[in-house]
């Protein structure tokens, strides 16, 4: 059904097409108020309610006000616990399904060495997800291995990390459409918002991660 329709060039355009678009915001490591006062204004002006269907937050918000603000952008929010989060009810890891993709979320401070891609790949296989969203390093990364894709949206406020002070604010917006994901990377470099995109497809096999 969905697969077949994807590959025919011209098909009857339906009302349902207009509703099908799914945008997922992935961000984290804001460290508000301890390390940063707020999101950069240029980011805040872009993040308006009504455009995004899901929010994935890697953790370290850290306070309830940030949680409420993000919730106002989109009611469907998934948060995992960072080591500085004040709300202890967040889970350590979370998995969810959006469209044809299984996504996993984990803050990443639990995975040692921090930011090591092979260790993260192990976590991904454990969670059995196609896309693993993780944070803690405050550095944007998008890495592909046999098990799937690991995305680190970086720090949305540019807060300093345990490793470095030199952090550019960044976050990620994923456009999930069938078996294809377009990842838009938003970075604030020298006061200007720069947007790049990354395209990848999931192979249509029954196994999720291979």
């Amino acid at each position: 059904m969905a697969l077949y329709l994807k590959f025919t060039r011209r098909r009857e355009c339906l009302w349902k097409d207009l509703k099908k678009m799914v945008l997922v915001l992935a961000l984290g490591d804001l460290h508000i108020p301890h390390r940063a006062p707020d999101l950069p204004p240029k980011f805040k002006s872009m993040l308006v309610p009504g455009k995004i269907q899901h929010i994935i937050c890697t953790g370290n918000l850290c306070i309830k006000e940030v949680h409420d603000y993000l919730k106002s952008l989109c009611p469907d929010m998934h948060v995992t616990r960072g080591e500085y989060d004040e709300d202890s009810r967040y889970l350590e890891t979370k998995t969810l399904t959006i469209g044809q993709f299984k996504l996993g979320v984990c803050h990443g401070h639990q995975v040692i060495p921090w930011g090591d891609l092979d260790s993260l790949a192990m976590l991904q296989r454990q969670l059995d997800v196609d896309i693993l969203v993780t944070g803690h390093t405050h550095q944007f990364k998008a890495y592909k291995h046999e098990g799937g894709v690991v995305i680190n949206p970086g720090s949305a406020t540019g807060a300093y990390s345990s490793i470095t002070y030199d952090v550019n604010p960044s976050f990620v917006l994923m456009d999930i459409d069938g078996l294809r994901v377009v990842v838009y990377v938003y970075e604030l470099i020298d006061g200007e918002v720069k947007v790049d995109k990354i395209d990848f497809k999931k192979t249509a096999t029954t196994n999720s991660a291979h």
Binding site: D17, K20, A142, Y143, D196, K197
Partner: protein, 437 residues
């Protein structure tokens, strides 16, 4: 020059809007015309099937009939006049080159429901079909494919648009499907990203349109909730609703100046209903495309009523309502004075809906189709005809209006009582003769 006396023809007993008379009349869709002005026309022109020698007025039979959902049942008490008109219409339609003036003349007396020709006649009257029969198939094919093209272009979400653009620029879609490594980042084209706030951004436009699309969706779901054709859970009702939605969305996107305004769905509904119920299957299948173009054509004369900025201008709704008021003053000064001055019933309270929605909300569905026959076919044009019909509506209930105060008059006009449509259209027609004569 203000007439002090009520004109004689108004005093005739025909115009008494007493409930008993109108009730009987209402139960039939085609009442015989009042005896005094028998139009001689059906007898004169040569007709393949000669009507009975004398046009006999059959007494109205008060049998209850379901008016709304069985618009296509052949009425058993069609007068001979209707049969002859139907025959003439069929004759006119079967000619190689159709004489539109003749068609207008015939159609303005009403198009018989049973013949299934309303769809074709309306398309001709709205200029969708050319007068030369030979060109019909090519014209239709052209327009239908144009509509299909519109839909494909306009009903795509930005995610798909970027994917199609991406495919055309980089056919090599599989750079590294095996192996691991950092995923390569590519530049975005024209600063197009989902959170873009740029005016030309397709994403931004899409999100701005979402509001309108939601409004259209809501209105479509509320259109004619009493009719199975439009509402309910049946798959056909859903397809019909989808068609209405698509048409309105395409219209809104192609007309950024006016977009969508509540009420357009009501004007669209009769058109789509008639075209979808075309006995010819091919036409019925392409009803959506045909309806779109006819809707554009019909709305072109009334667009300015929907534009809020034009409300107070010469072409806006207020000016049209003033024209109605003037028309009433001209033909029935006493009633006008009573309404506007004595009881202070501002015409905006009732005429706004009458005029903007082309009377679709004031009568039941079958009656409004009948009114639209006249509206679309009158050579004076739909705007003028509409005003005359509204004026006639006021005159027909003049007794009750003259006896009423603000509250009762407003109540009456906002819930206009069922009436014999042929009477109404006859009076409206008479109003034209009066103003030129």
């Amino acid at each position: 020059m203000v007439k002090k006396r009520v004109p004689d023809w108004l005093n005739s007993s025909l115009w008494s809007a007493s409930p008993s008379a109108t009730e009987d009349d209402r139960l039939q869709r085609y009442d015989s015309k009042p005896s005094t002005p028998t139009p001689p026309s059906p007898v004169a022109p040569p007709v393949p099937e000669p009507p009975p020698a004398v046009v006999q007025e059959e007494p109205p039979k008060p049998e209850p009939k379901e008016s709304v959902n069985n618009v296509h049942d052949a009425s058993s008490d069609d007068s001979a006049e209707d049969i002859s008109r139907q025959a003439q219409l069929l004759a006119e339609l079967s000619k190689k080159v159709i004489n539109v003036r003749e068609l207008r003349r015939l159609a303005s007396q009403g198009i018989p429901d049973g013949a299934g020709i309303r769809s074709t006649v309306w398309k001709l009257l709205l200029g969708y079909l050319p007068t030369d029969r030979g060109h019909w198939s090519s014209e239709l094919a052209k327009k239908r494919s144009q509509y299909k093209h519109f839909k494909e272009e306009l009903l795509m979400n930005p995610s798909e648009i970027t994917r199609r653009l991406g495919k055309s620029t980089s056919p090599d879609d599989e750079p590294k499907s095996e192996g691991s490594g950092m995923l390569s980042r590519s530049e975005i084209t024209h600063g197009e990203h989902p959170l873009s706030l740029g005016k030309t951004s397709i994403w931004n436009q899409f999100f701005q349109d979402t509001e309108i699309i939601e409004q259209i969706d809501r209105d479509v779901k509320r259109t004619h909730p009493d009719m199975n054709f439009f509402s309910g859970d049946t798959p056909s009702a859903k397809t019909n609703q989808d068609a209405l939605r698509n048409i309105l969305i395409v219209f809104a996107k192609l007309n950024p100046g006016i977009r969508y305004v509540q009420g357009m769905n009501e004007i669209l509904a009769p058109l789509f209903y008639v075209f979808k119920n075309d006995p010819d299957e091919e036409n019925a299948a392409s009803a959506e495309a045909d309806t779109f173009f006819c809707f554009v054509e019909l709305l072109s004369g009334f667009r300015d009523h929907f534009c809020q900025q034009l409300d107070n201008s010469v072409v806006g709704i207020r000016s049209t309502i003033t024209r109605l008021s003037q028309l009433l003053k001209e033909h029935d000064g006493e009633l006008w004075r009573h309404l506007e001055i004595t009881t202070k019933v501002n015409p905006q309270f009732y005429a706004f809906r009458w005029i903007t929605l082309l009377l679709t909300q004031e009568f039941n569905f079958a009656d409004s189709l009948h009114i639209w026959d006249t509206l679309l076919s009158d050579p004076e044009g739909p705007q003028e005809t509409l005003l005359r019909i509204c004026c006639a509506m006021l005159i027909l209930v003049r007794r009750r209006l003259l006896a009423g105060d603000f509250t009762s008059n407003l109540k009456l006009l906002q819930n206009y009582p069922s009436t014999n449509i042929s009477h109404l259209l006859y009076v409206a027609n008479k109003l034209r003769a009066q103003s030129t004569g």
